[in-house]
């Protein structure tokens, strides 16, 4: 009898302990963190961490708009964040719980306040550009030594694409990334909200469509790294991760990332706390942990994306802070453009355009 009682008490104590232990659930992009940081967070704070990943803003947004996602921290891109704030998906940050806010970089905070005025709801995690990932040897083999690897004409000029098709081209399956670039190539305002201007992208894409092997937003990392494709229109850090994977595999594939000379989209992935987050306090702890200069540097050193944390810069590896593809110089920075969300009607036009680009219907 006594043993039974003791066992029961022990179980009860365990249960109570489990209930008291804090937890936090984070939903972030795939291939976007040094996983050692997750263990460090758990060790340092004693909060148990669940880390899930997605590879498109649309999936995240649908979860946010459905409500009750169960996540405490999510990482939408700026233009998506803006719309989700309008829908009431996020809670204001309690800045008193975030002493590491002092580490943030004014230059980036100014730009992100375009999406989140006063940075009331979000903190920058990483930022980057959308540009060209090339398997340089294969591209030169196909297009010759003077292949325009640093120009949008590499993918938007049908003559180049016709030849590149033999070695494989992937393009992000994200209209909000590709359409601005196509508009830029056409000499239009990449952030245009004029349906007639945007429709011009249709004929342009129709010409290059036959030569695009796939529209996908994460497969190109591996495909570039193991030489299955030679060009990807993708996100800076993802291409640089492909470069590293190829180098590690030592498979004779050399991947380069180029910011197109015409200009590139500059995007910001923002950490925010859903309005119905079950553990807002632990969420703040997580944000503060990530804003620590050394932690943020560790994350950037691993994923090859620039971050919005100025204090982290002294801990960054030279191949990150010193690489103009990651931290662009002043001149390139001026050439970068940003993007704001479409209203629901235009969104439908754009999605329809995108479907017709991809499927020809």
């Amino acid at each position: 009898m006594t043993t039974k009682l003791t066992t029961l008490t022990a179980v009860a104590a365990l249960l109570a302990g489990a209930a008291a232990a804090q937890e936090v659930r984070v939903y972030n992009w795939s291939d976007y963190i040094d996983e050692d940081l997750l263990t460090e967070f758990e060790e340092e704070t004693g909060i148990s961490l669940t880390y899930d990943v997605f590879d498109s803003n649309e999936v995240l947004e649908t979860k946010m708009l459905a409500g009750g996602s169960g996540y405490d921290v999510v990482v939408p891109t700026g233009s998506f964040l803006q719309r989700q704030i309008q829908a009431g998906a996020f809670q204001e940050l309690d800045k008193s719980q975030l002493p590491n806010l002092d580490n943030m970089w004014e230059t980036i905070s100014e730009r992100t306040s375009q999406y989140d005025p006063g940075n009331t709801y979000s903190i920058n995690y990483m930022w980057g550009t959308t540009g060209l990932g090339v398997n340089i040897d294969k591209v030169r083999e196909v297009l010759g030594e003077d292949a325009p690897v640093n120009s949008l004409s590499l993918i938007f000029d049908p003559e180049n694409m016709e030849q590149l098709a033999s070695c494989g081209v992937h393009v992000l399956d994200a209209p909000t990334e590709v359409i601005p670039a196509a508009l830029k190539y056409l000499g239009e305002d990449p952030d245009s909200k004029d349906a007639e201007v945007i429709e011009q992208v249709g004929p342009l894409m129709a010409e290059i469509r036959p030569y695009i092997q796939k529209f996908h937003s994460s497969e190109y990392i591996n495909a570039l790294a193991n030489g299955e494709i030679c060009v990807a229109f993708g996100w800076s850090g993802d291409v640089l991760q492909a470069r590293d994977r190829a180098a590690e595999a030592d498979n004779g594939v050399t991947v380069e990332y180029h910011i197109p000379k015409e200009g590139a989209l500059m995007w910001f992935d923002q950490m925010a706390i859903p309005a119905d987050a079950p553990n807002p306090e632990a969420a703040h702890t997580f944000l503060n942990f990530m804003m620590d200069a050394q932690n943020m540097a560790q994350a950037s050193n691993y994923v090859y994306y620039a971050n919005g944390n100025e204090a982290s810069q002294e801990y960054l590896n030279e191949d990150v802070i010193g690489d103009p593809a990651i931290y662009p110089d002043e001149e390139t920075l001026e050439n970068l453009y940003t993007f704001s969300p479409y209203d629901p009607r235009l969104q439908r036009t754009v999605t329809r355009l995108w479907t017709s680009i991809k499927s020809g219907v």
Binding site: V59, T355, K358
Partner: protein
């Protein structure tokens, strides 16, 4: 009383798992898109009693269904899904029937093992099995490497990211659903019927078409429906193996729901899909019933 419970249980099941979700989707399909959580209006406000229900009903209209008729994308996607499902079903039948036949004619002590081999793939996640086809079909994949090393082809075949890969994926995934019902009917078959047919002057081929095939038709029809119905709405296989130009209604539905955040139109697409599927499902039910009556 017990009798009532026995009858009520399946109906309860139907109401909870089919009718209620269907009504929710129907309700959403009749509302309007909005920037909100959840992203549509009107929502039913029961706290206002009858007035709430009246307001809710007043806000309903069929514009989302009308919208589907205005853009050729939707009917093309429906048609293309039906076509892909139909072709896949026929291929699955062509591959599955001989396998089932072979299993049913194998020595009795082998049959459990063969049956096990058909069921075994289900022990691995469906997603992983579809993923592994990427490794087989890609241009640097197993299939191309083998074919090239043997010297059958010089340049790698492009199979992955085309509609051909979707057929491969569907046929592979749904093959067991074709084999199992056919095997079940063939195994039950009385082999002395074949001997009788041959005694009466049939060749082996004639005996097959005159005796075996008609007797296995129940299994064939069941297998075809079990493949055709889920294949129409398939989303995972076309999105992993298919190319961007593979048009299937499952993908269109995904785009409406995720890219456009237009739950009302997405729901309308789903309702129409259901209506399309009801035709084969009703045929299937009737066929089952007929078979049961014949057996009885």
């Amino acid at each position: 009383m017990r009798r009532l419970a026995v009858i009520a249980l399946p109906y309860l099941w139907l109401v909870a798992l089919f009718l209620v979700p269907f009504l929710i989707v129907l309700k959403i399909s009749l509302s309007d898109i909005a920037v909100a959580i959840p992203p549509y209006t009107p929502t039913l406000d029961l706290s206002e009693g009858w007035a709430g229900i009246r307001d809710f009903l007043a806000g309903l209209d069929f514009e989302n269904f009308v919208f589907l008729t205005q853009d050729s994308l939707y009917w093309r996607a429906y048609l293309s899904s039906v076509w892909i499902a139909l072709v896949s079903t026929l291929i699955t039948l062509a591959v599955g029937y001989p396998i089932a036949y072979g299993m049913a004619r194998a020595a009795p002590e082998w049959r459990p093992t063969l049956l096990m081999l058909v069921i075994l793939p289900f022990w691995t996640s469906f997603l992983i099995r579809v993923y592994s086809w990427i490794g087989i079909l890609s241009s640097e994949g197993l299939l191309n490497q083998v074919l090239m090393s043997v010297g059958v082809i010089d340049a790698p075949l492009t199979i992955l990211n085309t509609t051909r890969a979707v057929y491969v994926g569907i046929v592979y995934t749904y093959l067991p659903f074709m084999i199992l019902p056919i095997y079940a009917t063939l195994e039950k078959m009385d082999e002395s019927l074949l001997e009788a047919a041959e005694d009466l002057g049939c060749s082996k081929i004639q005996a097959f078409w005159l005796v075996t095939w008609p007797l296995s038709r129940g299994g064939v029809i069941a297998g075809c429906f079990l493949v055709f119905i889920p294949a129409i709405g398939e989303f995972v296989i076309p999105s992993l193996l298919g190319g961007s130009d593979t048009l299937m209604i499952g993908k269109v539905l995904w785009e409406e729901f995720f890219s456009n955040r237009d739950w009302p139109v997405a729901s309308a697409v789903a309702i129409i899909l259901l209506l399309i599927l009801i035709i084969p499902i009703v045929l299937f039910q009737r066929n089952e019933q007929k078979a049961r009556e014949q057996d009885g």
